[in-house]
């Protein structure tokens, strides 16, 4: 048997690896000149890497942890020791711990409401949630407007949603917000570093996972092969890329929904994988490099939250014993306006902000921007944003094979949707569908 896999991110490479292990002939077609999809490494200093894409994991990410172990990679703990900096309505201030200096009861009320709607969702089949139609029609922006009156909670909500799922509240339905938070383990788990989804990073960068998987697959992975069409005749499938035609008895399309819909399927899909309401995950990642983690000398953790942007939050992502890396997250609507700036203006906006936020620090010696919104072959990050109508229309079909075409990618996993863990689980599921085991 032979299978063509479209996309060499974690999902596609996992599917290909599983299929190859069962003696199936696989070919992986990748549009880019690199593997890894929404994981990507930047070498910020010789031998020292920053994660420009997906980076974090926690103990519940069991498939990812076992893959890391199998590949002989290690993890490093994220560090969150010291005080935080906040600029949330008013000038920057230093605060103990990670919690913003906003009305705690108002924020607690917001989290109570989020927890309630998160617990109400049917994680395995969100479209079957009680009241699904109403929750699928309503945007998260409309929801907060109706449910949460306190200005501090309203100020914090877009920051929280941006951090959790790279979404502006107007971009996602309440059903998708609730599903995403549920799928990732609930708001506490998704939000937490220690004991949560940001507990560790992959030593050397998360892109190493895909690089090592691809190395084992060898010449079965073809870079620079963007796929344009998938054609089925009888039991044969023909995959048309810019570099030729590849045949197989099954195909795994391991792409985000918006990208999967750029492929022409013959016969056509009964239901498209995305709609006009489906948005690109709005994330731009900025990495600031310092000779060492200088903020630690000032008792700071590197963690900051700012409502005035462009970096809505910063995290210490420094490799142990190496340079200092502050990763800045620009998400939601802020990411859209930041991505529209020209390079020098964007850099100046970041420098102006870091000088205000961390006046103790010199300007960084390195500056790297990764814009996932504009990226042709990802079309957003962390994941597709399901807008009003999407879960009820496309949701029930996300994993349904189209003849010999099977679907993978983190958006096809109801467990840990949007995360590396979801991608790996989806790749395994697609491989099991094909082999029947």
């Amino acid at each position: 048997m032979s299978v063509v896999v479209v996309g060499a991110g974690l999902a596609g490479l996992t599917a290909a690896t599983e299929l190859a292990a069962r003696g199936i002939e696989v070919t992986v077609l990748e549009a880019r000149d690199r593997v890894g999809g929404r994981t990507h490494g930047i070498e910020v200093a010789p031998g020292q890497w920053a994660d420009a894409g997906a980076a974090y994991l926690g103990a519940r990410h069991t498939e990812l942890k076992s893959l890391i172990a199998r590949l002989g990679l290690a993890t490093v703990p994220t560090t969150m020791e010291g005080r935080s900096r906040f600029s949330v309505g008013g000038g920057p201030q230093t605060v103990d711990g990670r919690f913003p200096p906003l009305n705690a009861i108002a924020l607690g009320g917001l989290f109570e409401q989020l927890d309630e709607v998160t617990k109400a969702v049917r994680q395995d089949a969100p479209w079957l949630t009680a009241d699904a139609e109403r929750l699928d029609r309503l945007t998260a922006a409309e929801w907060i407007e109706r449910q949460v009156p306190h200005p501090d909670a309203r100020l914090f909500f877009p920051l929280f949603l941006g951090e959790m799922m790279a979404a502006d509240p107007a971009d996602v339905s309440v059903l998708h917000m609730a599903f995403y938070l549920c799928s990732g383990g609930g708001i506490r788990y998704l939000n937490a570093f220690q004991g949560g989804a940001q507990e560790e990073r992959v030593d050397g960068g998360a892109h190493r996972l895909s690089e090592l998987l691809a190395a084992k697959l060898g010449d079965r992975v073809l870079l620079g092969h963007p796929v344009r069409a998938v054609e089925q005749t009888g039991d044969r499938l023909r995959v048309h890329s810019d570099r030729g035609v590849h045949e197989g008895e099954a195909v795994v399309v391991a792409l985000p929904p918006l990208l999967a819909d750029t492929i022409e399927y013959r016969p056509g899909l009964p239901v498209p994988r995305s709609s006009q309401a489906t948005g690109r995950g709005c994330a731009v990642k900025v990495q600031l490099v310092y000779p060492e983690p200088l903020w630690r000398e000032h008792g700071l953790s590197g963690w900051s939250v700012s409502s005035d942007g462009p970096l809505l939050s910063t995290v210490d992502d420094s490799p142990p014993g190496g340079v200092g890396i502050l990763t800045g997250f620009v998400t939601g609507s802020e990411a859209r306006s930041f991505a529209a700036l020209d390079g020098p203006s964007a850099r100046q906006a970041v420098l102006d902000q870091t000088r205000r936020l961390f006046p103790q620090l010199p300007d960084p010696i390195g500056y790297h921007v990764t814009d996932w919104i504009s990226d042709e072959y990802s079309r957003g990050c962390y994941a597709a944003l399901f807008g009003p109508g999407d879960w009820l229309t496309a949701g029930p079909h996300l994993t349904t094979p189209h003849g010999g075409v099977h679907w993978a990618g983190t958006e096809t996993s109801t467990e840990f949707f949007g995360l590396m863990e979801g991608a790996i689980r989806s790749g395994r599921r697609a491989a099991e569908e094909i082999t029947g085991s």
Binding site: G109, F111, R188, G195
Partner: protein, 77 residues
Amino acid sequence: MSTDGTVDGVVGIFRRVLESDRVQPDSDFFELGGDSLLATRVLSAIAREFGPELTLADIIDAPSPLALAKLIEGVAA
């Protein structure tokens, strides 16, 4: 409400927020896995159910249902 009633109420809030049946009147919120996000939910629930608006500093200083109940009664008195 009696102090016992308040303690029971706070135990109930802890159990719901921590998703744990192990909460006792003298349990430490943070030792049972509580963090600042969950602590704000407790503060919100206390304000809703009992009235007093406590702070994060209060729950750090008085992390058990027993201690928080005393605080609530003190504020309410």
